[in-house]
């Protein structure tokens, strides 16, 4: 057990061990443990209140766990850092409601997200290098918004905003990405396109997708973790978890 834990710790990009978050006695996360491997894409599902958002909050520094360990790349203790430091380490997060800078152009949104110095002094005198420009062009192609680069992000459709936000995460060049319902509110065609987009970027980044849409999760074809009452209920392929009697129990009511 100890050796396998040690193994997991050194090989996984994210190691969450026995994390508990309690708000006034209510345990939003209850002894939650899981690991994500480098380059892995993982889907996290679970009924409302299962702790999916809280799980992302503790990993990205928004909420501090009451107890437990979260290690990034086998060595960095995330429980001691704030959002900005964690983001700079290479962990990106997409919110459930698409959140982009509506008054900036698509290009400016991506530029602000582009990896690089984040200090006030640097950004006062910053200029865009040719390399950065090429990277922006590349990102625009990936998220299929090249034609809209000069448009205000506020004028984009809901789906396009979701892609722009994903593009902003990619611009950060993170090692690990958390996506909260990337397909929410999208048309079927857009959902399909999003699944393709995610599959395209998986491998280079580890991705954790939190989703309600079962068809979408199935189309991703990745390992699924089912959360329930702040802990892992089941883990495995989509087919396996869907046949798991405990999962069926939780989803179909008690």
């Amino acid at each position: 057990m100890t050796t396998s834990t040690r193994d997991k710790l050194s090989t996984s990009i994210l190691y969450v061990n026995a994390v508990t978050v309690s708000f006034d006695g209510f345990k939003a996360l209850n002894d939650l443990s899981f690991t994500i491997d480098p380059g892995e894409m993982r889907a996290v599902i679970g009924p409302n209140g299962a702790g999916k958002t809280t799980m992302m909050d503790v990993v990205t520094g928004k909420t501090r766990p009451t107890s437990g360990d979260i290690l990034f790349n086998g060595r960095v203790d995330l429980t001691r850092l704030d959002e900005a430091s964690i983001a700079r380490l290479g962990i990106g997060r997409k919110f459930q409601r698409p959140t982009v800078f509506e008054n900036h152009t698509v290009l400016d949104n991506l530029e602000l997200a582009l990896a690089g110095s984040r200090t006030v002094k640097h950004s006062l005198f910053a200029r865009l290098s040719g390399e950065a420009r090429d990277r922006l062009d590349e990102l625009l192609t990936i998220i299929a918004l090249t034609d809209r680069r000069h448009q205000r992000a506020g004028a984009l459709s809901h789906g396009e905003k979701q892609w722009l936000e994903i593009g902003m995460l990619l611009a950060q060049d993170p090692d690990l990405l958390f996506l909260d319902e990337p397909a929410a509110g999208m048309t079927d065609a857009e959902t399909e396109q999003t699944a393709e987009l995610l599959k395209g970027i998986a491998g280079r980044h580890s991705i954790v997708v939190v989703e309600h849409d079962m068809a979408f999760v199935r189309s991703l074809g990745v390992r699924v973790t089912v959360l329930h009452e702040g802990a892992v209920l089941a883990e495995g392929s989509m087919d396996a978890v869907q046949q798991n009697p405990r999962v069926i129990d939780v989803y179909l009511g008690r």
Binding site: E83, A84, T105, F125, A126, L128, Q172
Partner: protein, 395 residues
């Protein structure tokens, strides 16, 4: 022009928008023209500008600079400060202290070191915090340092604990109110209720002389111009885009790895320094500084100027500062009892009818007209208005 907006580095002069150019040209014209018309033209000339008007216009320019400083934090970073009057007043007090020391033994009591009010209070020596203010350079340093330090310390605690929105507005009000009460006390050593007044001269020039008034007016025009350029530099840089990002989606900015509190602290401190300079130029032109300048209502009034002129446009704020104060001068003379109602009405009317202020509304109409008359789908210029502020409140 491959990537258009936001790319590369553009010299500051190319980052100024049309309204900014109008503001700068008006300032240059007024900075030269008004002193000329006062000094060189005979009194009977229709173009002669009387000295009282020079001082009044100079006062408006100080208010315009103050409005600019509020627009920098409110319009571009969403920090609705209702305490900027405090920074203005502190800059004013620093200047007032210098002018008090300059009176020397020409005061009523003839004490070479102690200002009259200290003699009156039977103090026998100068308090330590008055040391150095006999030196002009030291006083000028304090004009910037005192408001800047207060903003830095205040902002450090407020932004680090993530106090935002209406809560931040309320504590800025509390800050200026606390200073009001403190400065009212005689024991503070700032002249209590009466404040500092009866100034004689500045840098050896009599404050009553027309030429000194003209020089102060020109200095105010220069300060406003330089202040505008500084603000424009900030808001058109990448840092400016981060500020707007903070204003529009703070947590998104944080999760992108930006230390939001550092950006807020930076812009809040710069803004406080600008407000302090405005106060320092204001005091010699009106001849007095008293605790009334700390009154919470003053700070709220500044926000009204910015809202009227057009939040998030910089030059609009300056315009609002001048226009509303012109209205105040006019109405407090014509119908003094009505002014406060007019000011309140103005704020409500602007909020309801012109949520983008005068300048923002003109820009909007201009944009509609341009779109109607030009079918060509030309891209927006590289450094156009950074981002219009959302209508309405601070958040």
């Amino acid at each position: 022009m491959a990537t258009g907006s936001s790319s590369g580095y553009t010299p500051l002069l190319l980052r100024i928008d049309a309204g900014g150019w109008v503001l700068l040209l008006v300032l240059i014209a007024a900075g030269i023209g008004v002193p000329y018309a006062n000094q060189m033209l005979p009194q009977e000339s229709p173009w002669h500008v009387p000295t009282w008007l020079v001082a009044l216009l100079g006062k408006y320019l100080c208010f315009a600079l103050l409005a600019l400083s509020v627009d920098l934090v409110w319009g571009f970073c969403g920090i609705l400060s209702l305490g900027h009057g405090a920074f203005f007043a502190l800059g004013g007090y620093a200047m007032g202290m210098h002018l008090m020391r300059q009176i020397g033994d020409r005061g009523v009591y003839g004490n070479p070191d102690l200002p009259d009010f200290m003699v009156f209070l039977n103090w026998d020596s100068l308090p330590w915090y008055w040391y150095g203010f006999d030196q002009f350079w030291f006083a000028m340093l304090m004009v910037m340092l005192v408001p800047g330090m207060l903003a830095f310390v205040f902002g450090w605690f407020a932004f680090r604990s993530r106090v935002t929105g209406v809560y931040l507005s309320i504590i800025t009000q509390a800050m200026t109110y606390a200073l009001l009460l403190a400065f009212f006390r005689n024991d503070m050593g700032f002249g209590g209720n009466n404040g500092l007044t009866d100034f004689k001269d500045i840098l050896g020039f009599s404050l009553q002389a027309d030429a000194t008034r003209c020089a102060l007016f020109a200095a105010s025009a220069v300060a406003l111009g330089v202040g505008y350029l500084l603000c424009r530099f900030i808001v058109t840089s990448k840092a400016g885009r981060v500020l707007v990002a903070v204003r529009d989606a703070e947590s998104r900015t944080r999760f992108l790895g930006y230390r939001v509190e550092h950006y807020k602290l930076f812009v809040f401190t710069v803004s406080a320094v600008l407000a302090g300079i405005a106060g320092a130029l204001y005091v010699p032109q009106v001849g007095i500084i008293n605790p009334g300048e700390f009154s919470p209502a003053n700070s709220i009034e500044i926000v009204v100027w910015v809202a009227v002129g057009g939040r998030g446009t910089l030059y609009g704020a300056a315009l609002g500062g001048v226009l509303v104060n012109y209205g105040k001068t006019y109405f407090t003379a014509a119908m003094p009892e009505l002014w406060l109602f007019l000011l309140g009405g103005l704020f409500i009317a602007v909020t309801l009818l012109l949520p983008r202020g005068i300048v923002g509304t003109l820009q909007l109409w201009g944009g509609v007209l341009r779109r109607r008359f030009s079918s060509g789908d030309r891209k927006r210029g590289s450094h156009g208005a950074v981002a219009p502020a959302p209508a309405g409140g601070g958040e």
